[in-house]
């Protein structure tokens, strides 16, 4: 297709949106930006779905009267995308609610700080030293042995 036609431009746009969303989810350090990148990836996927049912010079699948009908686009992908858009906003609302709770519990939304805070919390609950200290398991102390094998050996 030498001249850029409508469908190849839109396909590239949809693939570009999915790629930007995927890169954004992997690279972002703030959790809210991760949710935004997820929303962009969902938008790209919906565009690709609607594009799968498109036909050249076809009209929307709505009957305007009792006249002779032109060829229409495929209505099934449009019904699927209707569902997908509404589910996407439901998932985003739930993600934002969970982010509010994370901020209240840990005080930060940066994934690097959260990693250290959660690690310290788990190590504190398990009774072993955190990984950065000199007394971490494996550096100077032996690994903690489970209680069952401690009695048998």
């Amino acid at each position: 297709m030498n001249p850029p036609d409508l469908i190849s431009i839109l396909i590239l746009g949809g693939i570009g949106l999915v790629a930007i969303g995927a890169v954004g989810m992997a690279v972002s350090r703030h959790l809210l930006r991760l949710v935004l990148a997820l929303a962009i990836a969902e938008a790209g996927a919906n565009l690709l779905l609607v594009l799968a049912g498109y036909r050249w010079d076809a009209v929307a699948p709505i009957l305007a009267g009792a006249g002779a009908t032109q060829p229409m686009v495929d209505p099934v992908p449009q019904a699927l995308v209707l569902t997908a858009i509404v589910i996407g906003v439901g998932v985003q609302a739930l993600a934002v609610a969970l982010l509010i709770r994370v901020k209240e519990a840990y005080g930060t939304l940066d994934i690097r700080e959260l990693k250290t805070l959660v690690e310290h919390e788990i190590c504190g609950a398990a009774g072993i030293a955190p990984p950065e200290s000199a007394n971490a398991p494996g550096t100077r102390q032996p690994y903690p042995v489970p209680a069952a094998s401690r009695e048998s050996a």
């Binding site: 930007i20 809210l32 565009l47 209707l82 906003v89 934002v96 982010l99 509010i100 901020k103």
Partner: protein
Amino acid sequence: MMVWIALVLVALMLGAAVLVLLLDNLVAAIAAASVVSLLLSLLFALLAAPDVALTEAAVGAGLSGAVLALGLRRLGLIDLGKREDSDA
């Protein structure tokens, strides 16, 4: 004719999507995501899918932006910069 309209819309949409990841201010990032949804609804209207265009405009550009902005307010991360005087 429609090719040029689609080209402009897709270019603006990809630019806004890249801006979501690059902007520091989170309110501006949410606004850029709403712009992506708005341009996407125009593309859906171009693709002879009026139901999907209506849903994307109402849900993506309206409700999603409202939900994210309300979450941002509750997180306490709204930062609108310095203003010399405020009106209404």
